[in-house]
């Protein structure tokens, strides 16, 4: 279990301010944030490479503040892997096993076992120079796992490999995590990765945690315009909320020129409306149903993303709607076409 209790760190130009976050034992959590948000610094602080200005770090309930990195019992994989260039693949993997009671035989056995699992057995006696990105990644992972850490810290582990390898590695890593039950904290700038891998996600912005929770929760209910934009929830509109009048106490109007939308709101004032593209229904004819917001739109562009097609709509400003690629074909959607769109007042998330 990893617990960060109000930690503040300053390393060079990076600040972390009052970060609190917990990863349960055996959990897989992701910290996401844009470049420069302090993600790597956070991992280095947990590993003991950066001194805390305040707060505590607890690993498995034990206060680790002031404990040197070699006695924290965790594995660390950097984005650029940082394999030891003067050692062979086998020596890299067995690095953390040298000088232990186990001895050389056991170290070699563990290196073989991990190389087998990660599919790098044929590389064991090679130099690490000249390995491909994916191979280096596997060696770095094996090296971190060899001493059987109970906690694994990963710094953008898939950023430097090609997309095919990335998908493969993600699946392998997730399987490895499930088998070994290591509490894992990974840093990424890619929310898609968080959705696929994590049980838990925290969005880091400017050295603070902007929001944390289950990935699906954060994606569906971002708590700020920043998080909504960053996790790619879709449509984020700035505007003002006003009471709609008597009757329903929560019925309200959201104005974001030229759009005026019916929303459900508990308070008034300037806010952002977040509308997920899949919550916007699209039709070539009049739409039936009870959706309170409906309007005419022009298809500006179609963006095909595999099974889903993102429809860029012009309603006096840009809105994104997503439809299955099959129904896009069926409706024969093309740029310039006039359509009707509709979405429920409850589909608009105000932050």
């Amino acid at each position: 279990m990893i617990e960060l209790d109000g930690i503040s760190v300053q390393v060079g130009g990076f600040h972390l301010r009052d970060v609190s976050f917990a990863v349960p034992s055996g959990g897989y959590a992701l910290i996401i944030g844009p470049t420069g948000s302090g993600k790597t610094t956070l991992l280095e602080a947990i590993a003991g490479h950066a001194a805390l200005r305040s707060g505590r770090i607890l690993l498995h309930g034990r206060d680790m503040s002031g404990v040197p990195p070699e006695r924290r019992g965790l594995g660390f994989v950097y984005q650029q892997y940082h394999l030891f260039p003067h050692l062979s693949v086998r020596q890299n993997i067995a690095y953390g096993l040298a000088g232990r009671q186990a001895g050389r035989r056991a170290a070699n056995g563990r290196a073989d076992e991990l190389a087998e699992t990660l599919g790098i057995a044929p590389l064991l006696d090679r130099s690490v120079r000249g390995l491909s990105g994916g191979e280096q990644q596997r060696v770095a992972l094996a090296r971190a796992l060899a001493p059987r850490p109970t906690i694994l810290l990963l710094d953008e582990p898939f950023a430097s490999v090609d997309p095919t390898t990335r998908h493969l590695l993600r699946r392998e890593l997730r399987a490895l995590h499930e088998r070994e039950g290591i509490t894992t904290l990974q840093v990424t700038h890619d929310f898609d990765e968080a959705l696929r891998l994590g049980d838990l996600v925290a969005v880091l912005a400017d050295g603070r945690i902007a929001q944390s929770g289950a990935p699906e929760q954060v994606f569906r209910y971002p708590n700020s315009a920043f998080v909504a934009r960053f996790v790619g929830t879709g449509n984020v509109l700035a505007g003002v909320v006003e009471r709609a009048g008597q009757g329903d106490p929560f019925a309200a109007r959201f104005t974001s020129p030229p759009l005026v939308l019916e929303v459900v709101a508990e308070r008034e004032g300037p806010m952002h409306a977040v509308i997920r593209p899949e919550d916007i229904v699209l039709s070539r004819s009049e739409l039936p149903g009870s959706a309170r917001n409906r309007m005419a739109a022009t298809v500006a562009r179609l963006e095909r993303l595999g099974p889903v097609t993102l429809v860029h709509l012009d309603v006096g400003r840009l809105l994104l709607a997503s439809v299955t690629s099959a129904s896009a074909e069926e409706m024969e959607l093309t740029a310039g076409m006039r359509v009707t769109i509709a979405f429920k007042a409850t589909a608009i998330h105000l932050v």
Binding site: E44, A47, G48, H49, P68, P69, E70, R72, L74, G75, F76, Y78, Q80, H82, F84, P85, H86, Y95, G96, A98, G99, R100, R143, A144, P147
Partner: protein, 260 residues
Amino acid sequence: MARRASLSQIALAALGACLVLFIVGPLLRLLLMASPGSLADAAADPEVRASIALTVFTATAATAIAIAVGVPLAFLLARRDFPGRRLVQGLIELPVVIPHPVAGIALLLFLGRRSVVGGALAELGLEVVSHVPGIVAAMLFVSAPILVSGAQEAFRGVDPKLERVARTLGDSPWRAFRRVTLPLAGRSILAASILSWARSVSEFGSIVIITYNPKVASVLIFDRFTAFGLSAAVPAAVLLLLVALTVFAVVRLLQPVERA
């Protein structure tokens, strides 16, 4: 376009060739002037042999001291940020800009019997001025900056993240230094040590002031030149040149191959 480019290239090559000739010319002339017979005589001359042995011994001692105290300092300068780091950095490079006779006079004043430090050393039985330790002191003064800056470069070339990885894999700071930093920086530090050693061997200006006798090779060559003229100085000069060239070749071989 192509013609202009090639013209400018010819001009650059011509300028470069002038400098190369200027360096190679005198050395070749010196090598050609010594007959094999006179070289053999010089090599057999007990005074020449003693001076070369003394030079090699003192330069090795100065380099050993420079490594012992300079490598840890270089590591600190390369890795840690501490108050006064820039000042220390500047001070360590200071000897490079000091004319060598000036360094010799400064050392003489600092280490002479009548100074506090020299007096204390004499009390302990260590005579510096006009003795072998004076030679080592002068060599250390002029060569330590080369070693420290070379070792600093070597340590800067090792990514601190490699050390951090070693730490999370269970290494103490010292163990990480021994297993990762030193093997990766070692070759460059060795090259810097040899360069620093060569600098010691070639030193003359400060040694001639602090310890004229016993004579190191450069002082002996100067002595023979002033006392007996060119022909007496040449064989010893060629021998010293050969020693220097050998060291140079070794350094070039040790230099790490540039990575793309």
